[in-house]
Amino acid sequence: MATVVMTSLDSKSRAASRGLSDIKIRNLFIVPTILFLIVFNIFPLIYSLGYSFTDFRASTNAPATFVGLQNYRELLNDPFIWANFAITAKYVIVSVTGQVVVGFGTAMLLNREIPFKGLITTLLLLPMMLSMAVVGLFWKLLYDPSFGIINYALGLGSFEWLANPDMALYAVAITDIWMWSPFVMLLSLAGLSAVPRHLYEAAAIDRAGPFYTFFRITLPLVAPILMIAIIFRTMEAFKTFDLAYILTSQPTTEVISIRLYKMAFQEWQTGRSCALAYIVLIMVLAITNIYVKYLNRVKER
């Protein structure tokens, strides 16, 4: 089937004279990628599924014994794990909501004729291009209670952003919002500029007010692409590790991937952490599926 849709190789081309055929060229491109995927993704995925049913510890030489579903059963009954999930959920909701509000708002502001629009857009995109670790370290300095610029600018004295257990998670979320709002903005901007101008003109003629126009024309037309941004950001926020790990080490900021990291590489409960990784994977898949279903419904309308 694949050969049918492929354009065939010109028999007079240089590639053909070297004895290459369509299929050979196709394989040349695809095989390395597939190999890479198998070695680094698919094999570990299956291997860790196997470990998740054992009491394997990577720190000892003791052979792994099969324990069935015991890891899963214990994890799902562990109130501490559920607390980690609750923290993660809170973090996802705060951070994604913030990114959508800030990102979409900025996109609305930028979606008009203003001087230096290209330059402003590029500058606004910069945070997203930085490394997570760099952002984490910078914001740690910005949040610093004694010399941080945030406290100075807001006149908060020596307010403890990261050491305050109630505030730390929000501080991490604010950093994430700062970093990833541009992503939502970029996608929203693409969606907004795709709304035909004549629709706005028609709405103006039809005497629709600005709010009415926004909710009846702009939002429905941008919804599908905004939904894609939300899916991406939710998935990413769900598995956040670096920002939270670098910024603070409060128990109230222990999102699920930090718990997973500690379980696997500090406590060396390899088998159990594999099981937890699978639980997280299934959850992310489930959430994404709900979104995709909703996305399709929005698109159909």
Partner: protein, 358 residues
């Protein structure tokens, strides 16, 4: 319903002047057609009246009031665009309700229902009401977009080439429908088109626009029978008016190509010898054995009810409509003449009609 007046409207986009000192008036309940080629400034005129653009100079009056500071919503106009502008993702009914549901207007739900039903009945789209707009054909979409204009009882209907994207049959049908609609509503219409057939068949009045300037306004008969210059003569009518350059000598017209055609003495001898352009409509040009002009048949187009013959005289072409029964061979030699009473005289240099000048 309203009376519209444009006074000395000028509009420039950067260095490009789209409209130059444009003035005209549309009477209450009139079907006014603005005719012009692409880029003549028709759409700009419409957008200025709708309030989507601001004029660079000049004034627009709706019912005697200067509307310079009014936004599109306050002007209470309806605009039907070429690209339909239906709101996507909504059904036909929701599209029709849209202009009534805005906060500014506040129309009772019962009345919304009734008005939508009436508009749908008028445009015969009742069976489509619950359909999504992307499942409609071009003609249906255009009818919905007209429907969205009429649910509102606006003061003026502005239509920007609403029929040009449709196929020929549908265009003819909608042409009649629109004209009937306008008469039933008694509404003021400003209809913009590049299609002179639309202009002739629908307009109470036509304004011919060329390069941002209004060349002539008048009833279709006036424009057709008495064009103000050679531009209008060529722009209106299909096939267009024949233009023959020549001069007058006594009661005869002498074409530059040598043939002589009879001409009355209406102009006396005042223009004798001066370079002139004779304008004659194809239907006033006839073939007859023994007639003074001589030409060869270059092409014959059969239109069913009649044939359009292209005649070649030297290097020039003339078009004549002849009855469908007439048998003509390509390259056949024929003799022709015209109806001297129908000839329009234009100045050879400026192209202005002598009737209008005099």
């Amino acid at each position: 319903m309203a009376h519209i007046e444009l006074k000395g409207i000028t509009k420039t986009f950067g260095t490009h002047t789209a409209l130059k000192d444009l003035s005209f008036e549309i009477a209450d309940g009139e079907f006014f057609v603005l005719l012009g080629e692409t880029g003549a400034g028709k759409t700009t005129t419409l957008r200025l009246i709708a309030g989507l653009e601001k004029p660079t100079g000049g004034q627009i009056f709706i019912d005697g009031e200067d509307v310079a500071d009014w936004g599109a919503a306050e002007r209470d106009v309806a605009l039907v665009l070429q690209q339909y502008s239906l709101y996507p993702r909504y059904t036909v009914r929701e599209n029709l309700e849209f202009p009534l549901k805005s906060r500014i207007r506040r129309v009772e739900p019962v009345e919304i229902k009734e008005r939508v039903a009436r508009a749908a009945r008028t445009l015969r789209i009742e069976h489509l009401l619950d359909r999504k707009t992307d499942r409609l054909s071009g003609g249906e979409m255009q009818r919905v977009s007209i429907g969205r204009a009429i649910v509102r009882k606006p003061r003026v209907f502005l239509m920007d080439e609403p029929l040009s994207a449709l196929d020929a049959k549908l265009r003819e049908a909608l042409r009649t429908e629109l004209k009937n609609l306008q008469m039933n509503l008694g509404a003021t219409f400003l209809f913009v088109t590049h299609d002179q057939i639309e202009a002739m068949s629908m307009g109470d009045k036509i304004g011919v626009l060329n390069n941002g300037q209004l060349v002539q306004t008048g009833t279709p008969q006036e424009i057709y029978g008495n064009p103000v210059n050679t531009f209008v003569a060529r722009a209106v009518g299909s096939p267009p008016m024949n233009l023959i350059s020549g001069r007058l000598a006594g009661s005869e017209a002498i074409a530059d190509e040598g043939y002589r055609l009879p001409f009355g003495t209406a102009f006396g001898t005042a223009v004798d010898g001066r370079p002139l352009t004779f304008g004659i409509r194809p239907e006033d040009l006839f073939l007859e054995s023994g007639a003074p002009g001589e030409a060869r048949v270059h092409d014959v187009e059969n239109h069913g009810v009649e044939k359009i013959v292209t005649l070649r005289t030297g290097n020039h072409f003339l078009q004549a409509t002849v009855p469908a029964q007439t048998d003509l061979e390509i390259e056949e030699s024929v003799r022709f003449s015209w109806n001297p009473e129908k000839v329009v005289l234009f100045d050879g240099g400026s192209g202005m009609s002598l009737r209008h000048a005099g």
